[in-house]
């Protein structure tokens, strides 16, 4: 398949701070997720491929054309920036029609397209309210609406799911998948693995401005599984819990925190561990107060890849 977005040796510094370093990436139609912790360089990469920033070194092209100052490309591109920024005085409808007018559509077409986009993100009811009165989730959805309203072939979505409630997330995920099915190229950034899993299996792992890995999500899953996870459970029956789980072969290590009535498990099979935990909550009916992961799983994978 031909690459729609071609990035070659992209590097970018902010003074002495490295944004991204020597990123070479070809992205084809379908959904590609950029996965990495905050500050990894995802947004910098997205700003460069949408022509908001210039790389210090390297080139980027969309449909074979350079991006910086190339207005012809912007007709085929939709960009959803990360920041929660709007022309607050405008209503949702005015915001969309205003931006659509920049494409040269006539008034009627602007209204039609805006209505369609509002319908897709389910904001028709509030379209005549000023954006400043929108909730966080609505603001995120109107931002996505302005990305898709002109029906672009390439969508660059920087953290599109942040601030959305689970229902809102599901809607947007469904919408993004519809774009994929329509043959469009979608690039999504996130630092939350389960969100990315729900969207695509094609991921690019970015850390410290570099690409650590690219490929199928199952490969990442395997890495996660080969790396032990820590799960801390707070419960008045924490010793019983430890006893019941100690016989499982996927539990590698158990330590106690008696002063906090908590137990910390190390496992290399998160899913199996939680399946069993669910069973134990129902029968014999253990009372759990808190479940946390002391080590961030994604961070653990990055650490593992960096060491490797």
């Amino acid at each position: 398949m031909t690459a729609v977005i071609e990035a070659r040796n992209l590097s970018r510094w902010y003074g002495n701070v490295l944004g991204i370093s020597e990123i070479t990436l070809n992205l084809e139609p379908g959904i590609t997720a950029l996965l990495g912790p905050n500050g990894a360089g995802k947004s910098t990469f997205m700003k460069i491929i949408t022509g908001q920033l210039k790389p210090n070194i390297g080139q980027v092209a969309i449909f074979g054309q350079p991006v910086w100052n190339n207005r012809h490309i912007f007709r085929r591109l939709g960009f959803c920036p990360e920041s929660d920024a709007f022309y607050e005085e405008l209503t949702g409808l005015e915001f969309l029609t205003g931006l659509l007018s920049l494409y040269g559509f006539d008034r009627k077409e602007c209204l039609d397209r805006a209505d369609r986009a509002l319908e897709l993100v389910e904001l028709q009811d509030v379209s005549r309210r000023p954006i400043r009165s929108y909730s966080r989730g609505m603001r995120q959805r109107i931002k996505i609406a302005q990305t898709i309203a002109h029906d672009p072939e390439v969508l660059i979505l920087d953290e599109p799911l942040s601030g959305l409630d689970p229902l809102g997330k599901r809607r947007i995920i469904r919408l993004i998948k519809e774009f994929r099915d329509a043959g469009k190229t979608v690039v999504v950034s996130s630092h939350v693995l389960p969100e990315v899993e729900a969207l695509t299996s094609e991921i690019v792992l970015i850390h410290n401005g570099k690409i650590l890995a690219r490929g199928d999500i199952h490969f990442i899953r395997e890495l996660l599984d080969s790396h032990p996870h820590m799960i801390r459970i707070k419960s008045p029956q924490y010793r019983d819990l430890a006893r019941l789980l100690s016989s499982q072969d996927y539990v590698l290590h158990i330590s106690f925190e008696p002063e906090a009535s908590a137990v910390v498990f190390e496992t290399h099979h998160r899913d199996r561990f939680f399946d069993r935990l669910n069973e134990l909550v129902l029968d014999p009916g253990l009372d759990l107060e808190e479940i946390t992961s002391p080590d961030d799983n994604l961070q653990a994978v990055f650490d593992y890849l960096v060491e490797r």
Binding site: V281, G285, L286, D287, L288, E289, E290
Partner: protein, 290 residues
């Protein structure tokens, strides 16, 4: 069955342990942030030029004989008396520098809190609206005091030191109180003025434009109405004119305009009162999460 607990925010009801006034951390942070702004330190240093030249004036006034060749014809100007302090504290340059410094370091005091929706974070802590206002006011008052009260008191002490006697103090026993009163008045007025402007918009640039626009507009209106009506009472329309009239009254010197100085004091006091009422209403509208 496992209990599902709600994870959320709970208002802190504990005892405040910090030493000193509750508003002090806000003031301290505001002052620190002002100094971190680009060009602020340069402008801050620049605003002490009048103080330095007035200090030289105090020195020369004590050695007029030695500086005869330079001070010829300027003996009157170099007389250190209440008028000398009035001139220092009510000169256009000092007012302009206060506005400039506060445009840089004070315009965002309230505007930024509204813009970044940070205002609720203050009231989610054991802080009242008055504490918040006092904390912000402290920042403006600090800089105004530093440009007015501190140099004027230093000039007063220099005069005593250079003259080597208490004669000056005995001649004008009320002068130190006048310096303190007028400086405090300037602190209160500029605090109300800057905080009012800062609360009118979330846009810092707009606030800066407003701070200067209102100040100069009042001066223009004074100028035009004086040309038309030829009435000295036109001065009551000008911020600078009123500040200078009050200074003349407090330092017991002849005012520039033949208008009772207490009228200017009244005009500015009413302005401050209205500003405080507006600020109170504005802050009352902020939803408090408890």
């Amino acid at each position: 069955m496992a209990e599902v607990r709600e994870k959320g925010y709970h208002h802190w009801e504990g005892q405040l342990r910090e030493k000193g006034p509750v508003f002090w951390p806000i003031t301290r942070t505001g002052i620190k942030l002002a100094f971190q702004r680009k060009r602020f330190k340069f402008l801050f240093a620049l605003s002490f030029i009048p103080a330095i030249s007035f200090a030289v004036g105090v020195y020369v006034s004590e050695r007029l004989e030695d500086f005869k060749f330079m001070a010829q014809g300027a003996e009157k100007t170099l007389q250190v008396n209440p008028g000398f302090f009035k001139t220092y504290l009510s000169q256009d340059f000092i007012f302009f520098m206060i506005l400039l410094l506060m445009a840089l370091g004070g315009a965002g005091l309230i505007a930024d809190d509204f813009r970044h929706k940070a205002i609720q974070l203050y009231f989610a802590r054991p802080l009242t609206r008055l504490d918040y206002l006092l904390g912000k006011a402290g920042v403006v008052a600090f800089f105004v005091g530093l440009l007015t009260l501190v140099p004027a008191v230093v000039l007063f002490l220099l005069k005593l030191l250079f003259s080597g006697s208490f004669k000056f103090f005995l001649d004008y026993p009320w002068l130190l109180l006048s310096i303190i009163f007028y400086s405090a008045f300037l602190m209160v007025f500029f605090t109300c003025y800057i905080l009012l402007a800062s609360s009118l918009s979330k846009n810092r640039n707009f606030v800066i434009a407003l701070i200067f626009a209102v100040y100069y507009l009042s001066e223009i209106v004074r100028g035009i109405s004086y040309v038309i009506f030829r009435s000295p009472y036109s001065t009551l329309l000008s911020i600078m004119g009123n500040l200078q009239q009050v200074a003349a009254g407090v330092f017991q010197v002849r005012p520039a305009q033949d208008v009772p100085w207490y009228l200017s004091l009244l005009v500015l006091s009413v302005f401050c009162l209205l500003a405080l009422i507006f600020l109170r209403r504005k802050l009352r509208g902020v939803e408090v999460i408890r």
